[in-house]
Every structure is written in C-alpha cells, then in structure tokens.
C-alpha cells in the first residue's frame, strides 16, 4: 500500500466506516499534474506573447503573458493541491473504493466480481515519474474506476491481487 499522507488523512475520518483505511495518491502525482498544467499554461503564455508581437504591441503582450504566467501558476498550484487532498482510495477485500472531487465529491465503489478486465496505463510523463493509472473496466461504460498515479510497482501488485479476486461468471 502507499503510505498514508498525514495531512490528507487527518480530517477525513468523519464519513463513516470505510474512511478509516483510505489512502491518498502518491505525492508524485501532484508534481505530474502540475507539470501537465504548466505545459498547458506555457503554450498559452507563448500564444499571448506571439499575439503581442503579431499586432505590434510587444509591451502589452509580454505584460499580459507575465500576469497570465504568475496568476495561472498560482491557481494551478492551489487547485492541484486541492484535487490531490480530495483524492483517496482503498483497495478493499471485495471492492475498490474511490473518493475524489473538490466541488462535486464522488465516492465510488467498484466490486471486484464486476470487473471485466484491468488496464494499467502510463503516458511518457507518468513513466518518467514511475507512476501508472490503474483502471478497472466493468460492463458499464459509466463506471468511475480509474485510480490515477499509483507507484508502478505497487500497481502491478494491486492488479495481481484484484485479478485473484475477480471470481467467475460473466458478471453482467
């Protein structure tokens, strides 16, 4: 299991019994999300700069770009940490439990006996950080069953554990 992050665990014990063993995502995921957001932001800043040069108002363009970069950076930093704090999950005995969402909170339960197949998915950035997403696929397209960013080695162990528990039958 991932080691419980102290701050995220402290104030979340108020939602009944399953909450006790909920664990946060890897701290590295926060860096991953920030890096992704930063890349997106950099594109926008570059666009604003280019637009400023394009219309011949370099000063206005670069000032806007600077403000955008600073404000955007702060917002990204603040928001991603909120999202990270809100994210918790538990690989239970019979089901995977997820809890996430800042404004809209979601608490999902995916019983293993409904799992059709399991995906581990990792993009280039995730691989560099040794992270991977664990996705339990059920027969329902609307299932909310992705754990983003678990330690890659950890994820394989989790997958093996869940695969051993999925049981028999076609589960529909």
């Amino acid at each position: 299991m991932t080691e419980p992050g102290a701050d995220a665990q402290a104030d979340r014990g108020d939602h009944g019994d399953p909450a006790e063993e909920l664990v946060p995502l890897e701290r590295r995921v926060l860096s991953l999300w920030r890096l992704r957001a930063a890349i997106g932001l950099a594109v926008w800043v570059a666009l604003v700069l280019a637009a400023g040069v394009g219309v011949g108002r370099v000063l206005v363009g670069s000032t806007t770009a600077l403000v955008l970069a600073v404000v955007g950076g702060l917002v990204v930093r603040w928001w991603t940490s909120l999202v990270w704090r809100a994210w918790q999950f538990r690989v239970g005995d019979g089901a995977l439990h997820l809890r996430h969402g800042v404004l809209t909170r979601r608490e999902s339960t995916i019983p293993y006996h409904r799992v059709q197949h399991i995906d581990l998915e990792a993009g280039p950035l995730e691989r560099r950080m040794g992270l991977t997403s664990l996705i339990l696929r059920t027969a329902s397209a609307s299932s909310d069953s992705t754990v983003p960013g678990i330690d890659a080695a950890e994820a394989e162990a989790l997958r093996a554990r869940i695969l051993a528990l999925v049981g028999t039958g076609d589960a529909v």
């Binding site: 009944g16 019979g94 089901a95 969402g101 404004l103 809209t104 909170r105 979601r106 608490e107 999902s108 339960t109 995916i110 019983p111 409904r114 799992v115 059709q116 197949h117 399991i118 995906d119 581990l120 998915e121 990792a122 993009g123 280039p124 691989r127 696929r137 059920t138 027969a139 329902s140 397209a141 609307s142 299932s143 909310d144 069953s145 997958r159 695969l163 999925v166 049981g167 028999t168 039958g169 076609d170 589960a171 529909v172």
Partner: protein, 480 residues
Amino acid sequence: MVDLRRPRRTSPLGAAFEVVSPDRVRNLLPVAIVAISSGRVVLVLLIAGAISLVAGVLGWLRRVWSFDGDVLHLDEGVFVRNQRRIPVDRIQHVELERSLRHQLFGLAAVRVETAGGSGAELRLDAVARDEAEALRSQVLDALRTKAAPPDAALGDPDGWDAARHGPVPPPPPAPREVLVRLPPGRLLLAGITGPEVVAVLASLVFALDALADLGVDPDEIGRVDLGRSAIVLLVLVGVPVWFLVAGLIAVVRKWDLTASISGDELRVTYGLLRKQEFVVRTSRVQDARVAERLLLRPFGRADLRVRSAASGGGDASQVDIPLLDAAEIDRVLARVLPAAVPRPRLHPAPPAARRRALVRGGVGALLAATSLSVLAVLTSRWWLVAAAVALVLGPLLGELSYRGLGWAEARDVHHSRSGALARRTSIVPEARVQSAAVVASLFQRRRGLASVRLDLASSAVGVLDRETGECGHIAAAVTT
C-alpha cells in the same frame, strides 16, 4: 501445442498491415493535400510515409501478448503504454477472422470479447494461424476446466455454451404468449401526446420555409388582412388538424403494437407499412423505465421501456411499449423483472431537497426575469408580463421537480423517480449494478444531500437528492 505463456509479438506482417491500415491511410489524406498545395509532393509524402512506417513498426514492437491459462495479457502503446489483463472467466467469445490478406500469409485476426457494450476488448490484427487457433482452444479449455456452472447471474447461456461446446441445437420453440396489444385508439392518443406532435410542427415550419423558397414571402401571408374571425377559424381548424395528423402518423407507424413473450424472449412488433420487431432477452434485462407523459399522468398511463445488456459485442437492446395502464405495466414487469412487482410506494425526498429545488427554480426564474426585463426596456413593455410569468413559473417548477423525486427499494430492486413535468421511474435490480457512486455537489453538501449513480451495462441510473447517509446505504447495498 503452442506455448502461449511466453510473451510474443504479433506477426511481423502485422507491422506492415498497420502501416497500410485504413486509419493510417486516412490520416495521410490531409498530408497529401498539404503536399499537393505546397508543390513538394515527393518530399512531404516521403516524410509522412517514413513517419507512418516508424509508427507502425514501433507500435508492432510494443504490442506483446500472452495467455497463461488464467489471464490474457496484452501490452501495447508507444507513448501511452497500456497493459491490459483479461481474466479468462470474463471472456465471452474468441473469434478468428481471415480476410484475403490474412489467407495469403497464413495469418488470422483475433477478436476477444467480454461483456459490455464497447465491442472487442482485445484485437490482434495479424497472428500466425496456429497461434490464433491455439489461443482459441486454450481459452475454451480453460473455461471448461474452470467448470463454472453457467449460473443465473451470467445470463448469456448462448454465448457461453457456444464458446464451450460449439453451437447448441436450438431448443424447441416455447409457446408465444401475448402480454399487451394496443388498439388503434390508444395509438392515436399516443401520437397526439407524443413526439410526433413536435415532428409535425417541425415539418409545417419546413413547409412554410419551402413556400418562401418558391417566392411566396411568409410576411406577405401575415400582411394579408384576414380579420379576427378568420384567424380564430384558422386556429380552430388548424390546431386540431395538426394534432390529428400527429395521431394518425403514430397509428400507421405503431399499427398493431404487440408485446409478446416466448421462453425468455420479450418481443415487440408493430408497423403498418414497415413492420418492425424489437427483442430483448429477459435473462439479460438490466433495467426498466416507466415514463409518465405530462398530459396523461392523471389518467395513470405511462410508457414502458425495457433494456438488456449487449450480447456478444452487439449493442444494448431495448423495447418500448407506449401508453400502458398500471395493470399492463405490472403484467410485463412480472415477466421481465419479477421482483419489481408489486411496485412499492416511493419515499419522497427529504425536506432539504425541496428547499434545494425551490432555490434552483427561484434562481433560474430570477435570471430569466432579469434578462426579460432588459428586453422589455429595449423593446416592448409586453416582455415584462413574460418576466412576471417566469418569476411565478420558476419556483413552481422547482416544487414540481421536488415532488417528482422518489425512491424505494423492495426485494432487492430499486425504484427511482424524477422529473418535474414528465416523470420517469427507473427500475433497477441490485444484481445488475456494476458499480455505484455517491455524488454530492457543493450545494448538495451544504444541505446534507447527495445523489447515487448506479452504473449498469445498459446505462447509468440516478437516485437524486437523498440524505447523505441514505446514499451511502444504497451504494453499499448495490455493490455487495
């Protein structure tokens, strides 16, 4: 015997197939356009071709599969890497496909399907024929030795038996029992109160538009001084004709609508000119929905929809039977979801949900009234009347949508209703719920409310605005 436990790539020809696959060729089209417009056709096409080749080869190098007797493994992806694991128990079909190009090179395409609507869960485009056949026979062997009895929950005896023992001889046809047959009068009523009304109106508008195209100015029609009595006459005649046409369309389209059951097959047939037939397997029914139309609710008439899961990669199927009375709905439900009848009395949503609905309606009304008032200042005073109407209607709709909410559970079947004007009640057996989520927006949390989403193989069903604790109980009940 081919040992499939060792991870292996698909045939090297798979890389070639991938380079010339229709998807990639389609991706090359815009490149070709760029090439032609830039005048450097050969250079651009060479670069694009090289990229395509490298991508195809890399994709092939990265695609590795194996089968260890319990789990089917597939790792693929160049940038985003995906490792898929399919437990053999979940496999519904293994299909081999050999098109001309496969036959030329002694290859086969393999499709492995599990339950659910998304089609093939695993597809290998070019596998040596002996490997493909080994995979199929080893999967079937594994399924056989697992000896999981095809219990009631799995609900696709066809797929399983076909996968395990080859095609089974069809059982003798069970006698067909007619559950409901709709007389033309009821079809007329269905048309007058159904979507056909809007469709006819739309075609009227279209006809007026066509008139304008013919050189008849629609404004010209308006400008002709008809006189008040003529307009009244037009409305008195035109509106009934409009509705009558809608009703007649429904009568012709849904002529002799009959719901019948034979064995585990619920069949709905109808149509005068074009005969249509819809079938669901009762053993695979996922949920049912009772939709009460606005105008017909006082008369206790409602439409019934029964949905089943996809079987063997096909789309999820459904049947619709309009304008049934309560007894008829129960008669059909008793056959497709026996535990759903008698239908329980629904518990209303908590008082906090009423306050939320009223606030929502009120805020909506305020927004509408504000914009209508602006319109009134800019144009005609009459918009103020509309603004006043909106102010009354908003909270009224809020109250109605609160009254529409209801939920109950009986015999492990959940009944969930919502809707302000037209009401829909979803009927979901716990045994069909794939996963569940308790979802609470900021506004819901402030009032101690939440909703539950029940994920089904057919779609998702919501239980809206219950107390948070109750939502937790519902979610726990459906996922154990």
